[in-house]
């Protein structure tokens, strides 16, 4: 019996019982579809988180005051006051080639009023370098300038969310807002960055860092110093340069005892990646379960199909079919079923990932690995469990198979 004959026998057998064929195929379709959709969803989430972190600023390096050990007592993270404006100025003065911009910052939440309106928002004390480090652009007016910082001026740049909260829209440049009852003149409004990411970057008020320290918050330290590395390759160099300078300034010999910590964008990225990686692994776990359930479904229907056809196998053998001919026919049936179901499942999985990405607003990605894995596993199960019972049935003597109930 040549291959073409076997192929057409297998096709006829599948076409003979359409419901059974469809059910067997459905198990494969769902198993493969679910795996592809879920794994792709996980990848899309990962990519989306990475994109929003990269949006925080280019080549960003952040120095935060670290807890300094005093004997056995360790202060809480961020509670210490070990970084000052002088540290930032020293970094600028050192003129490292690895660093393009230095932006010291103080921040608090505070009540801001304008006429009868008031809002609770983030108040950032910043320098002229802030926009360059954090990718802030202006929709109108100007950002805080060096002379504003030097002159401790009462000027403010506000985000679009604050504009709508306090003024209900329009362009309030030139008008006055009050922070802790102190009046500030609005000199600019930032472009909306959108509410995505970890915080709403539009609900924000910038004032000169000197004004913030002396007039508003009454402090002499800074909350962090953000640096923009000259390029992505120089982030490590920038970390070393500033690290040693600060250790020197703070008179600390052992880097392990540093009273500050440094965090680069790639650190955040890798931290986030590990979180989204866990998420992807979770989805992959769910997908693996669907694959298993799908596989068991395929296994069941294949077993039942072949057992149901034991008499047919007996008859074919009585009429002169050799064992391997019977087994090959069933094997080809399984392969047709598996390939058909596999391709349908693949299309379904890709469609599903596309629909999810459009609905949730995630980037559309397809996991090639998931496609191979899903098709490999369900295909393997389908073929194995089409072949094994057929082999067992073909091994029966024709009489036993014919008498099988």
């Amino acid at each position: 019996m040549d291959f073409f004959e076997l192929l057409s026998s297998a096709y006829e057998a599948l076409a003979l019982n359409k419901v059974r064929t469809a059910l067997a195929g459905l198990g494969i379709v769902i198993g493969i579809g679910a795996v592809i959709a879920l794994v792709s969803l996980g990848q899309a989430t990962q990519q989306s988180v990475q994109n929003s972190i990269q949006g925080l600023g280019a080549n960003l390096l952040t120095i935060s005051p670290g807890s300094q050990r005093t004997g056995a007592v360790e202060g809480g993270f961020g509670s210490s006051q070990t970084l000052t404006l002088d540290d930032a100025n020293a970094i600028t003065a050192a003129n490292f080639s690895s660093i393009s911009k230095v932006s010291p910052e103080v921040s608090r939440r505070g009540q801001v009023t304008a006429g009868r309106n008031n809002t609770n928002t983030s108040i950032i004390g910043a320098t002229a370098n802030y926009p360059g480090v954090h990718n802030v652009t202006m929709s109108s007016g100007t950002f805080i300038a060096d002379q504003d910082v030097a002159g401790t001026r009462n000027v403010a740049v506000i985000g679009p969310q604050v504009v709508s909260d306090l003024f209900g829209g329009g362009d309030p440049t030139g008008q006055t807002i009050r922070i802790n009852k102190i009046p500030f003149t609005i000199i600019g409004i930032t472009v909306s960055k959108g509410g995505t990411g970890f915080a709403n970057q539009d609900d924000i008020v910038f004032i000169p860092i000197t004004t913030a320290q002396k007039t508003v918050f009454g402090i002499d330290y800074v909350n962090d110093i953000s640096l923009s590395a000259a390029s992505a390759d120089s982030i490590t160099q920038a970390e070393n340069d500033t690290g040693y300078l600060l250790l020197q300034r703070h008179k600390i010999n052992d880097p392990a005892q540093a009273d500050f910590s440094m965090f680069s964008q790639s650190d955040i990225l890798s931290a986030a990646s590990s979180v989204t990686g866990t998420f992807t692994a979770l989805l992959a776990g769910i997908a693996a379960i669907s694959l298993l359930v799908g596989g068991i479904g395929i296994m069941n229907i294949m077993l039942v199909t072949v057992i149901e056809r034991t008499r047919e196998i007996g008859l074919r053998k009585a009429l002169g079919a050799k064992d391997r001919t019977v087994v090959t026919q069933f094997l080809i049936e399984s392969i047709i079923l598996t390939i058909g179901g596999g391709l349908t499942g693949m299309v379904l999985g890709i469609l599903l990932s596309y629909v999810i990405s459009v609905v949730i607003g995630l980037p559309f990605t397809i996991s090639i690995f998931a496609i191979f894995l899903a098709i490999g596993v369900s295909g393997g199960i389908g073929i194995l469990f089409g072949w094994y019972p057929a082999k067992k049935a073909a091994d029966l003597s024709p009489i036993e198979a014919l008498r099988y109930e």
Binding site: M1, E12, R316, K317, L319, G320, K322, D323, I399, L402
Partner: protein, 229 residues
């Protein structure tokens, strides 16, 4: 000429520790072109004998020579070839492929002999016309009556033009009128030169044969030549 020669055939089944002797030292022979009926009550071993004659099973001991070839010593694949080319089966339960047309059922053994599709269909159609089903060739098996299904089965048994037609209770599941038609067809096949062996427990069916072998408890009780044909 002796076409079938069975000598000292024994068949023993083992179920756990229990030993059942289905055939106990049976010897007989059948000539080419003979019409033989094997009769006996249930449990007499006639089905076991039919399985051995049909190369569906091999004896525990003894020899079965078919056309000079010792079938009891053949491999599984060789037995499959014997069943395909030398023996045509007609079963009590018809054993047609369900939801499959008469033509495809008749053509089935020819697939395993490697005959081309066109030739298979042509031969199958001719055989169905011969058994009087020329107008039902594309009916599926579930659209046919018992007698019609058995005629499809006979056409299938003839598709490889085998020397021997083995019929196991061919009339067991059909009406008396249809049973007689089936027996007439078998008789005409004998006239065309086929050796016909039927297994039955009905004396009214056995009379169509030229010779009757009576089995009882796995042994040959008697052999009777029939005058009436």
């Amino acid at each position: 000429m002796e076409q079938i020669c069975v000598s000292h055939v024994k068949k023993i089944y083992y179920t756990g520790d229990i030993e059942t002797v289905a055939l106990d030292d049976i010897s007989f022979s059948i000539k080419k072109g003979e019409f033989v009926a094997i009769v006996g009550p249930s449990g007499s071993g006639k089905s076991t004998l039919m399985h051995i004659l049909g190369a569906l099973d091999t004896p525990t001991s003894g020899n079965y020579i078919l056309d000079g070839q010792d079938v009891s010593k053949l491999s599984k694949d060789q037995l499959a070839d014997i069943r395909n080319k030398k023996i045509g089966f007609v079963f009590q339960a018809f054993n047609l492929l369900p939801r499959t047309t008469a033509v495809k059922n008749v053509a089935l053994p020819m697939i395993y002999a490697g005959i081309s599709k066109d030739e298979r269909i042509k031969k199958a159609e001719q055989l169905l016309k011969d058994v009087g089903l020329g107008d039902r060739m594309n009916h599926t098996s579930n659209q046919l009556s018992g007698g019609q299904m058995q005629r499809v089965a006979i056409a299938r048994a003839l598709s490889m033009n085998p020397a021997i037609i083995l019929a196991d209770e061919p009339t067991g599941n059909i009406s008396t009128v249809q049973a007689e038609e089936i027996m007439r067809i078998l008789q005409s096949l004998q006239k065309q030169g086929h050796t016909i062996i039927i297994i039955t427990h009905e004396p009214s069916i056995a009379v169509f044969a030229q010779r009757t072998i009576h089995l009882k408890d796995g042994k040959i009780e008697k052999e009777v030549k029939n005058g009436k044909v």
